[in-house]
Amino acid sequence: MLNYVSRTIGALATAAMIGAGVTGAVAAEETIKVGVLHSLSGTMAISETTLKDTVLFLIDEQNKKGGVLGKKLEAVVVDPASNWPLFAEKARELISQNNVSVVFGCWTSVSRKSVLPVFKELNSILFYPVQYEGEESERNVFYTGAAPNQQAIPAVDYLMSEEGGAVKRWVLEGTDYVYPRTTNKILEAYLKSKGVAAEDIMVNYTPFGFSDWQTEVAAIKKFGSAGKKTAVVSTVNGDANVPFYKELGNQGIKATDIPVVAFSVGEEELAGIDTKPLVGHLAAWNYFQSVDTPENEEFIKKWRAFIGNEKRTTNDPMEATVIGFNAWVKAVEKAGTTEPDAVIDGLIGVSVPNLTGGFSTIMPNHHITKPVYIGEIQEDGQLDVVWQTPGLVVGDEWSDYLPDSKDLIADWRAPMSCGNFNVATGKCGGKGS
C-alpha cells in the first residue's frame, strides 16, 4: 500500500514536472522579449533607474491591452553598472542569449558609442531616449531624445529675444566630456553666425562631479558686470548641478540678473535642491511634468499608481522612452513581425502621440519631431513653461553650424540608406563611420 502511494506520488510529481516544463515552453514561445539596458548601480543609476522603471511600466500597460501581435511582452533587465565596456557585453548578452527583439537603453553618449558595434554586428534595434550632441545617425539606433537643434539652439533663440531678456553676452559652462564640448562648439558657431563677438562668449569646463564652484561663479559674476545682459548656458551634467546652483543662490546671482539655462536639469535633479533661490532660472526640454494636457495628466496618474509613490516626478527622457516604445509597438504591428529589418524599415514615418498633446514622427534620419519648451524653475521644484516653439522641430543629426558636418545628411530609406551622405560630393560616407 505504502509502496503504491509513494509510486503514485512519484508519478504525479513527474507529471507535474513535465506539465510545468511544457507550459513553461509555451509561455516562452508566446512572449516577445524586450531588453532594458540601463545602469542600476554606479554613478549613472541616479538618472537611469527611472528609465528602467518606465520601460517596465510601459510593458505592463501594453500587456494589459493584450500585448503585441497576440503575444505578451516580457522585460529582460540587465545592469551595466555605469561601466562603459560592460554596456557592450550586456548588449551582446541581451541580443544573443536572451534573443530580445528590441533594446531600450543607454544614457551617456559614451555608453551608446560602446554598444553601437554590437547592435550593428547582431543587427538589432536600440532606442536611445536622451538628449545628445548629434553628429551621428546609425541604421540600428533610433534617437528619441533631442538633437542640439531641438534643445540648445531654441533656448539660445529665446534668450536672444526681447521676451527672454535680449541677452548679448554668453557664458557656456559645461562638464568636460563629449556632449557639452560638441554642443558648445555648435552653440559658439551659432552665436557667431548671429553676430555675437568672440569676446562676448566665455567657455569654461569643469570635471565630472565638480563641487567647489566658488571660482567659477565669481568668474560668471565678473563676466556679467560688463554692462551687457548676460546669460549662462549650462551643459553641466548630473551631480555637479546641485552645488553649482547652491553657489549661485548663495552668491546672490538672481535669475533676473544673470539667467542660467540648463540642458541637463529636470524635475529629477531639482528634487534634491532647495529651489527658492533658483526661481526663474531656465531649462530647455521637450517635455515638462507641469505641461497641462489630458494625456500628461493620465500618464502621471498611471505612472504614480504603478510605482506606488504619489510624489514621483516625470521627466523628458521618460517621455522620449514612451514615444520610442509606442512607435516600436506600432511598427511591429504594422510589419506583423518583430524581425529587425522589417521593423527598422517600418519605423520610419510612424507617428505616435506624445505627452504634450501633439504627435511625434520618426523621420528618415532616425530622429523624431518634437516641440521645444523653455521652463522656469518654480519654488516647488517644478518647471513652468514660459515659451515654446510655434511648431514641431525635426531633429537635425548633422549640425548645420559645424563646418565639417554641414554638408552631411542621413536618410535610411532605400535607395539612399546612408547615415552620412555628403551632399557636396554626392557620396555616402563623409564624416564619422
Binding site: 570635471p207 567647489d212 543662490g249 533676473t256 526663474g280 518654480q378 513652468d384 514660459v386
Partner: protein, 540 residues
C-alpha cells in the same frame, strides 16, 4: 459781484468733486487695475504692472509682492484676481489689496498668474519706486538697491525727494549712487555727468563697473567718455587686488573642505597605516544621517530645523564610528600588515556600503536643507563670503583642535599613540591593543561622519558622495606627511589655495591636473611628505 459768487460756487463745486473722487476707499479704484493683472500674456501683464506702479499708491506694493512670489491667482469664472493659499482640496482666496477673506475655490477654478524673468524685473523696479519712502529701513535699503540697478532717469525727482527725507546714512549713500547712475543715463549737461562718474568711481565695485562700462560704450567721444574710461581703469585696478584676496579666501574654503574630508583618514591611514578605501563612504554615512535627522525634524518638529545640524553631529559620529568599528572587527583586523589585501577588501566594503545606501534610500539625491544661519552671503568690501563656506572653515578648525586635544590630552589618545609607536611594548604594558585599534578606527570613521554633516551642506547627498573625496583625502594625507596631523592641516590649506590660484588661469580641469603633477614631483623629492615623522616609529 454776482459773477464773483458764481465763479466761487463753481470753484467750490469742482473742489468738492475732486475731494469726492479722492476720498472713497482707494481699493475700489485700484481694483480694476489689479484685475488687469489677470489678462493673458506676459506683455499685457507687464503693462498692468506699469499701470499699478503709476498710481504711486503704497497700497499696491503688497499686491506686486504677491505677484512676484507667485501667490496671485485668477478666478476662471470672472477673471477676478486673488491672493490664494493652498487649503485642503483647493485654495483659500483673499483680496490682494485689503487682505480680506474672499472665500475658497477648487483647484480647477483658479489659475496661477505665471511670471517670467521680465515680469519679475518689472515687479522689482515697480516695487523699488513704491517702497522708497517706506517706514521700514530694510525695505528702503532693498528699494534703493533696486533703483540703483534700474537707474531710470525718470525717477530722478523721486530719488531727490527720498534723499531729502532719508535719515539712514547707508541708504542715503546708495540713493546718491542711484541718482548719479540715473543722471548718467539722462540728457543732463556733461559737467553734471562727469561729477556723477566721479561719485560712482568713489564707491567702486562690480555694480558700478557694470553701469560705467555700459555708459562708456554708448557715450559719444568727449569729456564723459574720457571720464568713464579713467574711472573704469581705476576700478578695475582695485578689483584686481580684491581678486587676489578672493582667491586666498576661496582657497581657505576649499582647504577646509579638504581638511574635513582628510582628517579622519589622517587617523586611519596616517596613524594606523590602514589604506582605507571605504573612508569616503563614512563621509557619506554622516551625510545620510543628517538627511534622516532633517527628515524626522521636518515631519515632526519643524521649529527645530535650525538645530538639525547640531543634533546630527553626535549622531553622525556615532553611526559612522560604529560602522567603522564593525569594519575593523570583521575585516581589517585580519589584514594588519598586508596593505594590498586591505586596499582591496576596503574597496569592496566601499562598494557594498554604496549599493546598500542606494537600495535603501534610492539612487536619487536627497535634499538636505541649509539652516537659516547657513544660507546667503555677506559682503566684505568687494568680496562675497557665503555663510555656509565660512561656517565650514570654522567647523573644520574646531574639529581639528578637538582631535588634537583627544590625541594629546586624554588617556585614550595616549594609548593610541603608544600602540602606533610600539605595539609589543604597549601590549606588554597592559594596553589591550586590539581594542585600541578598533576604537581608533572608530574615531577616524566617526570624524569622517561629522565631516559628512558639514559636506551635506555644500554637496549632493547621494550614494556617490564619498567617491569624490577619497582621492583628495589621500592626496592631502600623503602630501602633508603620513602620521602627522599638523601636516594634514598645512597640506589641506596649501593644496586648497594652490588649486584656487591656478583655477582662474588654467581652468578647473587643468588646475586639478597641475596640482596632481606638483604632488607627484614633491613626493619624489620628499617621499615622507611635508612633515615627516622622525624617530623609531618610522623604522618600525
Amino acid at each position: 459781484m454776482v459773477d464773483m459768487i458764481q465763479r466761487f460756487k463753481a470753484l467750490l463745486a469742482i473742489l468738492a468733486l475732486v475731494l469726492v473722487a479722492a476720498m472713497p476707499a482707494r481699493a475700489d479704484d485700484l481694483k480694476p487695475l489689479v484685475d488687469g493683472l489677470g489678462k493673458n500674456g506676459y506683455a499685457a501683464l507687464r503693462e498692468a504692472i506699469g499701470a499699478l506702479a503709476a498710481t504711486g499708491d503704497p497700497a499696491v506694493a503688497p499686491v506686486l509682492q504677491a505677484l512676484g512670489a507667485g501667490d496671485l491667482y485668477v478666478r476662471k469664472s470672472d477673471r477676478a484676481v486673488f491672493a490664494a493659499t493652498k487649503a485642503d482640496g483647493g485654495f483659500a482666496l483673499k483680496d490682494p489689496l485689503t487682505g480680506a477673506d474672499a472665500g475658497t475655490a477648487g483647484s480647477r477654478d483658479v489659475e496661477k498668474i505665471r511670471v517670467n524673468n521680465a515680469v519679475r524685473e518689472a515687479v522689482t523696479s515697480a516695487l523699488g519706486s513704491l517702497t522708497l519712502m517706506s517706514a521700514d529701513p530694510a525695505k528702503r535699503r532693498a528699494a534703493a538697491a533696486d533703483v540703483f540697478r534700474n537707474s531710470d532717469p525718470a525717477q530722478i525727482p523721486l530719488i531727490d525727494q527720498a534723499i531729502s527725507k532719508e535719515t539712514d546714512a547707508g541708504i542715503a549713500t546708495t540713493l546718491q549712487m542711484a541718482r548719479a547712475a540715473a543722471v548718467l543715463k539722462s540728457d543732463a549737461p556733461d559737467a553734471e555727468k562727469v561729477a556723477a562718474i566721479a561719485a560712482l568711481q568713489a564707491k567702486g565695485g562690480r555694480d558700478v563697473l557694470a553701469q560705467l562700462t555700459a555708459i562708456e560704450a554708448s557715450a559719444p567721444d568727449g569729456a564723459v567718455k574720457a571720464a568713464a574710461q579713467t574711472a573704469i581703469t581705476s576700478i578695475q585696478g582695485t578689483l584686481k587686488l580684491w581678486d587676489g584676496a578672493q582667491n586666498i579666501l576661496y582657497g581657505i574654503s576649499l582647504g577646509s573642505v579638504l581638511l574635513l574630508a582628510a582628517i579622519g583618514l589622517a587617523i586611519t591611514f596616517g596613524v594606523m597605516g590602514v589604506i582605507n578605501m571605504a573612508h569616503g563612504e563614512m563621509v557619506m554615512i554622516g551625510a545620510y544621517t543628517t538627511f534622516v535627522v532633517q527628515e524626522l525634524i521636518r515631519n515632526n518638529m519643524p521649529w527645530l530645523f535650525d538645530w538639525s545640524l547640531a543634533i546630527s553631529l553626535p549622531l553622525a559620529f556615532l553611526v559612522a564610528g560604529l560602522v567603522g568599528v564593525l569594519i575593523e572587527r570583521m575585516v581589517i583586523r585580519y589584514l594588519y600588515g598586508r596593505p594590498l589585501e586591505t586596499l582591496l577588501a576596503t574597496w569592496g566594503v566601499s562598494l557594498i556600503l554604496q549599493q546598500a545606501v542606494r537600495t535603501w534610500f534610492g539612487p536619487n539625491n536627497r535634499e538636505v536643507g541649509n539652516p537659516s544661519w547657513m544660507s546667503g552671503a555677506f559682503e566684505l568690501g568687494n568680496l562675497t563670503i557665503t555663510y555656509n563656506r565660512m561656517w565650514i572653515v570654522v567647523f573644520a578648525l574646531v574639529v581639528f583642535a578637538t582631535l588634537m586635544l583627544v590625541l594629546k590630552r586624554t588617556p585614550f589618545g595616549l594609548q593610541t599613540r603608544a600602540v602606533t609607536q610600539n605595539r609589543p611594548m604597549a601590549s606588554s604594558m597592559g594596553i589591550r591593543t586590539p581594542w585600541v585599534d578598533a576604537l581608533t578606527f572608530g574615531l577616524g570613521s566617526g570624524i569622517a561622519g561629522i565631516a559628512g554633516v558639514a559636506l551635506s551642506q555644500i554637496d549632493n547627498v547621494s550614494p556617490n558622495l564619498g567617491q569624490g573625496y577619497i582621492i583628495d583625502s589621500f592626496m592631502v594625507v600623503v602630501f602633508g606627511g603620513v602620521g602627522n596631523l599638523w601636516g594634514t592641516l598645512v597640506g589641506a590649506f596649501t593644496l586648497g589655495i594652490a588649486n584656487k590660484f591656478l583655477e582662474p588661469y588654467a581652468g578647473a580641469v587643468l588646475g586639478k591636473i597641475l596640482v596632481l603633477v606638483f604632488i607627484i614631483l614633491f613626493i619624489q623629492k620628499r617621499p615622507r611628505g611635508l612633515f615627516a615623522l622622525k624617530g623609531r616609529a618610522v623604522e618600525a
